[in-house]
């Protein structure tokens, strides 16, 4: 798969198909079931949001798809088809050809994601030199163009600077430029704005969105912030304790959420429209231990609607609409849900 070819390839249809992906870690304390059977697909040029609290397995899911995991003490099963090629059985050498060229990734903390002792320009040129075999001068020209594209003033000057001489937002722009260098067909963005200030976060999210559109690049946006995915994705996956519990197009997830967990997550966020001192609806307890996840539905210990059925039988993903799946015995709008809403003194229906 030469990158030059991909640049001219028509980008439609399924880009990535993940089937029943399992990623467990063997630790001294036991087997951590970080990702426990995840299935979804992503089309060319689409933007997918993966949302969940810390420890739900979203970051590990992204890295597991790319194959960027340690090689020992990891149990990985299932299949990842990228442009029809199986990634899970691919050798490290072949994966290294895809990393950076076809799939790129940016990370949460731009402070630590750049090599502190290597000049910015050299780091940026690296993927070009590796994957495209660019000459030094050629790479430099492309890098300067990239820096301009991601909105960095004085690219010539930045080329010879080190990461610590730049601000956080600037570093994240560098990371994005580096990811874009070889024109990948999908960008994994792992909490790209969590470490940034809110005004800078808005700029970076705009930048990612613009670049995805311009380059017809698919995006997997991993975040804990429902607000971030709401404005910047086409489709959303909600994860809880290593499982997908709800998948839906962005608009219908927010308007017709089915999972009590999604609902609770949404309600626990303080909102600017609400007057000051509005009582927040907190979710009791804390996310489960992934070594010994609860039986049945993994959210049942914290769920106000949980019944005995929830505690014993694990719900399967089912379709509310063809493109809206959820995994719950008593989804939002069900009888049980209304009953509990009334008993809690809330008005059932709507948020």
């Amino acid at each position: 798969m030469s990158t030059l070819q991909t640049a001219f390839r028509r980008r439609t249809g399924t880009l990535l198909r993940v089937e029943d992906l399992v990623t467990h870690f063997v630790t001294a304390g036991g087997v951590v079931r970080a990702v426990d059977g995840v299935t979804f697909s992503l089309d060319h040029g689409k933007r997918l949001g993966v949302v969940g609290e810390s420890g739900c397995g979203k970051t590990i899911l992204a890295r597991s798809i790319m194959g960027l995991l340690p090689h020992r003490n990891v149990i990985r099963q299932g299949s990842v088809l990228f442009e029809g090629t199986e990634l899970t059985t691919m050798s490290l050498k072949d994966r290294q050809k895809i990393w950076g060229a076809e799939m790129a990734m940016i990370f949460q903390d731009p402070m630590t994601s750049l090599n502190p002792v290597m000049k910015i320009g050299k780091q940026l040129a690296e993927p070009l030199r590796i994957h495209l075999g660019s000459s030094r001068e050629n790479a430099r020209a492309i890098v300067l163009k990239l820096l301009e594209d991601v909105g960095i003033p004085e690219p010539e000057k930045r080329f010879d600077q080190y990461a610590h001489e730049l601000s956080g937002g600037m570093r994240q722009r560098i990371m994005i430029a580096m990811a874009l260098a070889c024109g990948p067909s999908v960008l994994f963005a792992d909490e790209p704005t969590t470490a940034l200030d809110v005004t800078v976060q808005a700029q970076i999210l705009d930048l990612i969105e613009d670049q995805c559109r311009e380059r017809e690049m698919a995006l997997v946006l991993v975040t804990h912030d429902l607000g971030v995915v709401a404005g910047h994705t086409d489709q959303i996956i909600v994860m809880y304790a290593g499982k997908i519990i709800e998948v839906a197009p962005t608009a219908s997830l927010f308007s017709k959420m089915k999972m009590p967990y999604t609902e609770a997550l949404f309600q626990s966020i303080p909102k600017l429209e609400d007057p000051s001192h509005t009582r927040l609806t907190a979710i009791g307890g804390r996310p489960p231990n992934l070594i010994l996840p609860p039986e049945g539905c993994r959210f049942s210990p914290r769920c106000p609607y949980a019944t005995d059925k929830c505690r014993t039988i694990e719900p399967e993903l089912q379709a509310a609409e063809p493109d809206h799946l959820y995994a719950c015995h008593h989804p939002v709008g069900s009888d049980r849900w209304s009953e509990v809403q009334v008993s809690l003194g809330r008005r059932p229906g709507g948020h």
Binding site: L68, W99, G100, A104, D109, S113, N115, P116, M118
Partner: protein, 320 residues
């Protein structure tokens, strides 16, 4: 630049403190005068000569004057002669320094050449077979005192198998390369192995930390090959402790290879100093200590500058 000047300032303070202490130490030694006279051969010299000798040491002057004379002599290179044999102290020190520096350089080089590749591979597959193997060996090396190693190697390689000369002599490399090799091989190994163990463990654990940092994941996600990640991305930011340890060891090795020099009968600076102490050659010892302190301080100064090269953040004084 500020960083540079600050380090230079520290250097001056240390040099001052060392020379001051050393110049005064003579006055504090019990029976210093008697010892000196005894060393010169007590019965053989008359009162006049005694007084001349003691006057030349300025022992009866006030402290600051003593220090002044000492520094003056140091700077003008007027170091005098040894009590015994009347060899100029400067030539004794430079002869010794030549041997000691050779030993130090060989020892460091061999240690680093052994330690760096081993540490990189052990860190890359930490917990693996090679890691456990090399960790065990490095512990063995660290736990072997050099006099024990010298004894054992001496017994096996020189006494039993007669592969190397029992007593090393200082033969220049260009004069007789093979003899040079056979003479310096054992002392070098005895110096290098314990060092290599220490270096390997330091670098290994730093590398393991570096390999866990985000920027390594970034490099992997770019498709950088494994050797390039290890040597191109991870090694340089992991060298801090190793460089520090190596610098400290420069000081320790130049003067502290006493044991190795004694074991292999090499007349290096360390051995000369020890013999000097026994022989009450205080002047020689004083000046040697100052020279060694200067070597130590200078290497540390250079290493501080090297830090700036290793990590550009140090230059702005964030870490320094």
């Amino acid at each position: 630049m500020k960083y540079f000047l600050r380090k230079l300032g520290q250097l001056v303070i240390v040099v001052f403190a060392v020379t001051f202490t050393v110049s005064l130490a003579l006055g504090a030694i019990p029976y210093a005068e008697e010892r000196i006279i005894a060393a010169k051969g007590s019965g053989a010299i008359n009162e006049e000569e005694k007084n001349k000798l003691l006057d030349s040491l300025n022992l009866r002057e006030p402290t600051l004057v003593q220090y002044g004379y000492f520094v003056g002599d140091l700077v003008t290179l007027d170091w005098g002669v040894t009590l015994n044999g009347n060899q100029p102290i400067s030539s004794s020190i430079s002869d010794g320094l030549k041997i000691s520096l050779r030993l130090m350089i060989y020892g460091q080089l061999v240690a680093l050449l052994l330690a760096i590749p081993a540490a990189v591979f052990a860190a890359y597959r930490s917990g693996g077979l090679f890691d456990r193997f090399s960790t065990t060996f490095s512990f063995g090396f660290i736990s072997t005192p050099n006099y024990v190693l010298a004894t054992v190697l001496g017994l096996l390689l020189t006494v039993r198998w007669k592969l190397f000369p029992a007593i090393s002599t200082d033969v220049g490399f260009f004069e007789a390369p093979w003899d040079h090799f056979t003479n310096f091989f054992l002392p070098t190994i005895v110096l290098a192995l314990p060092l290599a163990g220490t270096y390997m463990r330091l670098l290994r654990s730093d590398l393991i930390n570096t390999l866990q940092s985000d920027f390594i994941t970034t490099a992997r996600a770019k498709g950088v090959s494994t050797p390039r990640i290890l040597f191109g991305h991870a090694l340089r930011p992991s060298l801090f402790s190793l460089v520090t340890a190596a610098a400290v060891n420069v000081g320790a090795l130049v003067g502290g290879s006493v044991v190795v020099e004694t074991a292999f009968n090499l007349n290096g600076l360390g051995r000369r100093t020890v013999l000097g102490i026994f022989a009450s050659e205080f002047r020689l010892v004083q000046i040697t200590v100052v020279v060694l302190a200067l070597v130590y301080v200078m290497t540390n100064f250079l290493v501080d500058i090297l830090y700036g090269f290793l990590d550009p953040r140090v230059r702005v004084g964030r870490l320094g």
